[in-house]
Symmetry: C2
Subunit: 128 residues, 2 copies
Amino acid sequence: MRIGELSRLTGASRRLLRYYEEQGLIVPDRGANGYREYDDRYVDRVNQIRGLLDAGLPTRIIKQILPCLDKPRSIHFPDATPEMLALLASERDRLTERIDVLIRNRDAMSEYLTEVARCRALEPGSSH
Amino acid sequence: MRIGELSRLTGASRRLLRYYEEQGLIVPDRGANGYREYDDRYVDRVNQIRGLLDAGLPTRIIKQILPCLDKPRSIHFPDATPEMLALLASERDRLTERIDVLIRNRDAMSEYLTEVARCRALEPGSSH
DNA sequence: CTTGACCATCACATTTATGTGAACGTTTGA
DNA sequence: TCAAACGTTCACATAAATGTGATGGTCAAG
C-alpha cells in the first residue's frame, strides 16, 4: 500500500509517516516512480510506534527497542548486542516506574470522582 | 523556603519552577523584597507535577486536575464544576488506556529479555 | 563597603513531534 | 487529453518543556 492508505489505516498523517521514516523507525520500499510502498505489517508497526510515543518514549529510544518488539515472534535471537540488552532493560525499568506513577495518579483521580459522586448523592435536592 | 532550596529538594531547576508558576501550576507567595516564598507542601506538589509531566500529561491538563489531587485529603468538595469533573473522568480514562499500552510493551520487553537470557544460558561456552 | 551567593525579569535558543503549504511529478478515470 | 487525487521534496511554523545568559536588585559576612 502507499502512504495515503497507511495514513488512513493508522490515523497518522502522511507527514508523520515521513517523519517516522526520517527518524529511522520505519523503512518502506520505494516503487519505480519513487512512491513509498508499505506492506501490511506496517499498520501494526506504526500503531506500536504511536503507542510508545504516546507513552512518552522519545523516537531515538523507540528506534532502539523496536527491533526487539516486532520480530515475528519466535524468531528472536542474538543479533542483540549486550549494550542493546542493557538499554532495553533500563528502559523497561524506567517504563515500570512511569507506570507506577500513572497508576497512582489514576487511582487518586478515581477516588476523587467516586467521592464526589457519593457527596452528590447525599445532597439536598438530589432526589428531585 | 526560597527558590534555590526548593530546586535542591525537588531536582527541578529554578528556571523550571518559574515556568511551572508561569503555567499556573504553582502560586508561591512573595516576600517584601519580591522573592518567591514556598512552604513545605510545595516539595510534594512539584514532585507530583513532575510525575504527571513525565507521564505525558501537558501542563494545561495538569493545571486542571491538580486541585483535585492535592487538597489536604478529607477536605475535598464541590468547588468542582461539572465540566471539570467530566474533564477529570475523561483524562482518567485516557490515562488508563495509556497505562495499558505501557504495560503491554513493558511485558513484551521483559519477555524478550528473559528469552534472550534463557538462550544465553544454553549457549556453548556459557559454562566457562 | 565590597564580594559572593542569592534573587528577579526578560529574552533568545533548542529539541521533539507535529502542522501547513509551495512547487512539482504520477496515475487514473471521464 | 484534462482534471482530480495522489505522490515527492523542501522549508518554514508551532507548542511544550527546558536551557542559557544578560542585566540588575538584595543580603549577609568579611
